[in-house]
């Protein structure tokens, strides 16, 4: 279930469009910001608020790779594995990240701090290899630099 503030933000978002359904992606973003992922309950709630069939909300939510449907770590690492990053060593770095965290892609570390996912091009090819931690960008990565970055997120 979404809190009152999220509900109000969705209501305001819907005013920006000629039809409320257009606020569906904004609503999914708002729900994900609140809980870290979008639960089926949240989808049902959004369906009611925007007057869109539940099945359509589910169908739309599952289309987009940045909408998560299960819980993640407190911090989500999205590491690029597209060509410009691969050319400059993304694969060994992903291997390093995986062994540092001790979990597979999509799993949460035992302390709940991190989960990681491979991601397609994040438009940081001038700083390849690159990754996002939550909304923060980190580029020109090396194994040592990744170790230092991980320390900064509690």
């Amino acid at each position: 279930m979404l809190n009152d503030e999220a509900r109000e933000r969705i209501r305001l978002a819907a005013l920006r469009y000629p039809e409320p359904r257009a606020a569906l992606l904004p609503a999914l973003h708002i729900a994900q910001k609140e809980a870290g992922y979008v639960s089926e309950d949240a989808m049902r709630f959004i369906a009611g608020q925007l007057n869109v069939p539940e099945s359509e909300v589910f169908g739309t939510a599952t289309f987009y790779s940045l909408i998560r449907r299960s819980s993640s770590g407190r911090h989500v690492i999205s590491i690029c594995h597209n060509l410009p990053c691969t050319l400059l060593g993304a694969e060994p770095l992903i291997g390093h990240l995986k062994s540092r965290l001790g979990v597979d892609e999509g799993e949460v570390t035992p302390d709940g701090r991190f989960s990681y996912q491979r991601i397609e091009c994040i438009g940081r090819c001038d700083g390849a290899p690159a990754m996002l931690v939550d909304d923060d960008y980190h580029g020109d990565l090396t194994p040592e630099k990744i170790d230092g970055i991980l320390e900064k997120y509690a």
Binding site: R16, P18, E19, R21, A22, A23, L24, L25, P26, L28, H29, L50, V52, E56, G59, T60, T62, F63, Y64, S65, L66, I67, S78, H81, N82, L83, P84, T86, L87, L88, E91, P92, I94, G95, I119, E120, C121, I122, G123, R124, C125, D126, G127, A128, L132, D135, Y137
Partner: protein, 451 residues
């Protein structure tokens, strides 16, 4: 050389509207409001500006179609769903000179008669989202957005709309579906968005860099602007150079600048003293070129004559240490992930291509696999619903054309067991895993593939 697009990106504090205005922002808006909308469109037509997102359609012509359509209201959408691998030009404008884009959008909205605009921003650009929200708020506070903009009687409202990770939404009809709150899958064309776009109304969808050219055109005048660049490819272009170069980055240069100048003069040449092997000139969906093409002019028609395309202007550079089978596999993995699932040739074709590349890298490739790859491309070509599938086959066809012996060696020597191939060997592992299997090397002949 005069910069039109990146001129303010290094202005200290330039995200603030007052500082941006002190450096010329919103100056071209006053010029444009002094002209009739139809004259603004003519000015953009005469400038020769063509779309910078990949397709290269003449911008003024697109505007004219929407302006002439009697249906109201009309919509203007900025395509900031910059997903073409290797491309980061729009991000630089969005994060470092958002007012240039907003000014271009107000002028475009005035020209086509749209009072509502949306910036469709890719979900992977959270920093740009915050910057744009602030810039839009400041523009409202200054009376540059909303009703009666700077006393002109013109209305233009602008909102940011964030995507959520789908390359297909860079295709304009998919983008419109996504904006409307649906799965981002393409619509049949015609009708074109200029006549029936968002909510069925006349809609212009323009790329960030395209719209960012508009203030410069209006300030300089179309005649001076059209002297930049070369015949048929006027103006400047932001080239995004990535991969094996010393200075990866975004360089604004006149269209028609040679690939050699871009790589060696601006991007500092090949990293680590290696040799240039291959270049993708316009983003992952454009055909690869080789060191032989180093003197090609980077403009719409010169690149077409090499068999490639200008695309988004994303120059991905590969040196002689690059395995072309692996590099192509990385691109194909991307296209399979991003195929929207709507049409069979693309949905199955990209998956099959990915499966075959994965088995080649695992050392399980068969002698006929090169022909199977080419056969799949033949089945996709001209049969996909939208440009995604057509683009997906380009790296396959071009890398086999230029580097066939590497494919043969990969198959003959049962892969190289290289470190970088390891992450690629699992093949498909995402949402569309349970579909048809690619033709196996052992049990099926090419003839059975020729359905």
């Amino acid at each position: 050389m005069e910069q039109l697009l990146l001129k303010r990106i290094n202005v200290p504090g330039g995200l603030d509207i007052d500082i941006a205005m002190a450096h010329g922002a919103y100056g071209a808006l006053r010029i444009s409001f002094g002209m009739r909308p139809v004259d603004v469109i003519d000015e953009v037509k005469r400038s020769g500006l063509r779309g910078r997102g990949g397709a290269g359609f003449p911008t003024g012509v697109k505007w004219g179609f929407a302006a002439m359509d009697p249906k109201m209201p009309k919509y203007l959408i900025c395509n900031a769903d910059e997903g073409e691998p290797g491309t980061f030009k729009d991000r630089i404008i969005l994060e470092r000179d958002p007012h240039l884009l907003i000014e271009g959008m107000i002028i475009a909205g005035y020209a086509i008669g749209a009072e509502r605009g949306y910036i469709y921003l890719r979900g992977e650009y959270p920093a740009a989202a915050d910057i744009l929200e602030r810039a839009i708020t400041q523009a409202y506070e200054k009376g540059l957005l909303g009703n009666n903009i700077i006393g002109s009687g013109v209305t233009f409202d602008l909102s940011l709309h964030r995507g959520a990770g789908a390359y297909i939404c860079g295709e304009e009809t998919s983008l419109i579906e996504s904006l409307e709150g649906k799965r981002g899958q393409p619509r049949i064309r015609p009708p074109f968005p200029a006549n029936a776009g968002a909510w069925g109304k006349p809609t212009v969808v323009n790329n960030v860099e395209t719209l960012a050219n508009v203030p410069g055109i209006m300030a300089l005048g179309s005649e001076a602007y059209s002297k930049l660049g070369v015949e048929g490819s006027t103006g400047t272009k932001i080239f995004c150079v990535s991969g094996a170069v010393n200075r990866p980055g975004a360089y604004e240069l006149p269209l028609g600048t040679t690939l050699r100048e871009i790589i060696y003069t601006h991007a500092g040449g090949i990293r680590g003293g290696g040799k240039l092997k291959a270049v993708i000139p316009g983003g992952a969906s454009t055909p690869m070129l080789t060191a032989e093409h180093i003197d090609v002019k980077m403009d719409y028609s010169s690149l077409l004559s090499t068999g490639s395309m200008l695309g988004s202007g994303a120059v991905i550079v590969m040196d002689d240490s690059t395995c072309m089978v692996h590099a192509t596999a990385v691109i194909i993995r991307f296209f399979e992930h991003e195929s929207c699932g709507k049409c069979t040739p693309c949905r199955e074709g990209t998956g099959w291509l990915h499966q075959i590349y994965s088995r080649m890298l695992r050392g399980e490739g068969g002698e006929s696999d090169i022909d199977v790859l080419l056969g799949i491309c033949r089945k996709m070509k001209g049969k996909c619903f939208c440009p995604l599938g057509e683009g997906a086959i380009q790296p396959v066809l071009s890398s086999i054309k230029y580097f066939r012996e590497e494919y043969e060696r990969c198959i003959r020597e049962r892969g190289c067991g290289g470190e970088q191939c390891k992450g690629m060997m699992q093949g498909s592992k995402h949402h569309m895993t349970n579909k048809f299997q690619a033709p196996s090397t052992k049990s099926q002949t090419l003839r059975t593939l020729d359905f």
